[in-house]
Amino acid sequence: MSSRLEVDIHLRQRQFTLQVRCVAEVRTLGVHGASGSGKTSLLEAIAGWRRPDAGRLVVDGLALHDSARRIDLPPEQRGIGHVPQDALLWPHWTVGRNMRAGARRLDSAGEALLARTAEMLDIDKLLERGVGSLSGGERQRVALARALVGRPRLLLLDEPLAALDAPLRRRILAYLLRVRDELRVPTVFVSHDASEVQAMCDEVLVLDSGRVVAQGEPATVLRAGADAQAGFDNVLAGLVIELEDGVATLELDGGVRARVPSRGLEPGRRIAFAVHSDEVLLARGATGVISARNRLPARVECLADVGGAVRVDARLVAQGRGSLLSATVTRGAVEELGLAPGAEVECVFKASACRVWSAPGR
């Protein structure tokens, strides 16, 4: 399910004017950029928390704001679900009461959605708890559940993982992936973390000082802007088909098979994982037997100079269009292997180099 989002707004801020103009077919739209680039302001304008100085905001033909027609729907009439970074749970209510307050209608279907959402996000045991006793991850899941039970036409996720530590971030991201795949609510996902955007989104807007500087497929757009020093996280998704000796075999898009650590996984689950470009080796010709569990055939698409190294983007050979994988190598390796667009290579990485994002199974 998708929503058509049309944004053309001017919103004066203290340091810059947010000036966003874009049209996007939203299934999961990423909004990426550094701190202070205007990501949260854009979301708050969509939610009706900030009023643009001029312009229009339309979701699926419904004008949320249109300065020319003097339309400015109040937040309660926009049908938006919002999960901010700090969750903003109402502290005087229990988890259950927070969720009920988020539901616009509590008929039998609403009750069923509430129960299903609580179960999906593993908060069904927390419903009687006060929100003051929740951990950071539990708070984010409750905030997400509260937004979902309102049956929003558009879900806004504003850096929902930013306040969490790395292991918890991976765990909550897995819940977000589950919500994306099972409930299919059109979502705008704000994050300054490129790998999160890659894992979640099928399209991304990149903001800088309040303006859209790039828009397109996350793998392509985010690679172009990747920090040369920091390298780049490859994010891939696939279905667990087998577990053996601590290694899970995944089937990626196009039938490609990859191996990742199996801890906490079970067959039949769809998961995402990340492997850093520094961890991916490229090989040509006969490599003999090696210990790395992943040797994936690919074809080089492009090479980019990133400081002292070269980032090689290669597309995995698959039925149909395979995923893009980046490797960071030295200039000497590029010359020795004769790497150029079109060259056939093997992408080699250890299963243990993969960081798996997975929610607990049931």
Binding site: I80, H82, P84, L88, W90, H92, G102, V131, R146
Partner: protein
């Protein structure tokens, strides 16, 4: 002091202070909310006017009320066409006490509303609640401790009010004589024991009130975010 007289003074005092708190609480809470949540031209002037009774001598405030409700005042019999029955009645004592309590209630209520994150209210709007439902279900419950403290402080201020009350309502035993006025009367008559008895009673009341306010304002909230 005879117990019957003491009871009468105490009864008048509690009646006047309760009614004054009942008048000042809704007005002060509404004013506190308005000042906390709204921006408008002249806001600082309104804030200053509202704080005036805190710094003006209470006798001066009483005199202004007296002028306002005098026969030829803006709210007097000539202007209204009937006698509002305020001057030298217990209603006058209530009016004077409420006027003196109002700034204290408003300032404390404002601080209580300032302590509620406005984004929690916006989130409630996004969840589909109307502005009034947000005020009732989110803002007021989250500010409840501060608002209860505001009401108690208003009651306490009314309990000890003297200057404005004596000008507007006089010091009429059995009608307008509150405990503060009675202490003044006993001192003037040289009855030190009776005055001390009244001081002991009002000190006990003040202690309970202050203790309650401290508990409300100082105790950590169990349901913090």
């Amino acid at each position: 002091m005879e117990p019957a007289v003491l009871l009468e003074v105490l009864s008048t005092t509690l009646r006047v202070a309760s009614c004054a708190a009942l008048v000042a609480a809704p007005c002060g809470i509404a004013a506190g909310w308005w000042l906390s949540r709204k921006e408008f031209p002249g806001k600082s002037v309104v804030e200053t006017l509202l704080a005036l009774p805190l710094v003006l001598p209470p006798v001066a405030v009483g005199y202004l009320l007296l002028a306002l409700f005098a026969r030829d005042g803006w709210l007097g019999e000539d202007a209204l066409g009937f006698d509002p029955g305020v001057l030298f009645t217990w209603k006058g004592a209530v009016l004077a006490s409420a006027t003196m309590a109002l700034p204290l209630v408003a300032r404390t209520a404002r601080a209580a509303f300032d302590g509620v994150d406005p984004r929690l209210e916006l989130m409630a709007r996004t969840a589909g609640m109307s502005p009034w439902r947000v005020r009732l279900c989110v803002t007021l419950p989250l500010a409840r401790r501060g608002l209860a403290a505001a009401c108690m402080l208003g009651f306490g201020r009314a309990l000890g009010e003297f200057g404005a009350t004596v000008v507007v309502a006089g010091n009429i035993p059995g009608r307008t004589q509150t405990i503060a006025l009675a202490i003044f009367g006993e001192i003037q008559l040289g009855r030190a024991d009776a005055a001390m008895q009244l001081v002991a009673v009002v000190a006990a009341l003040a202690f309970v009130l202050s203790w309650s306010v401290e508990r409300l304002q100082g105790a950590p909230r169990r349901d913090t975010r």
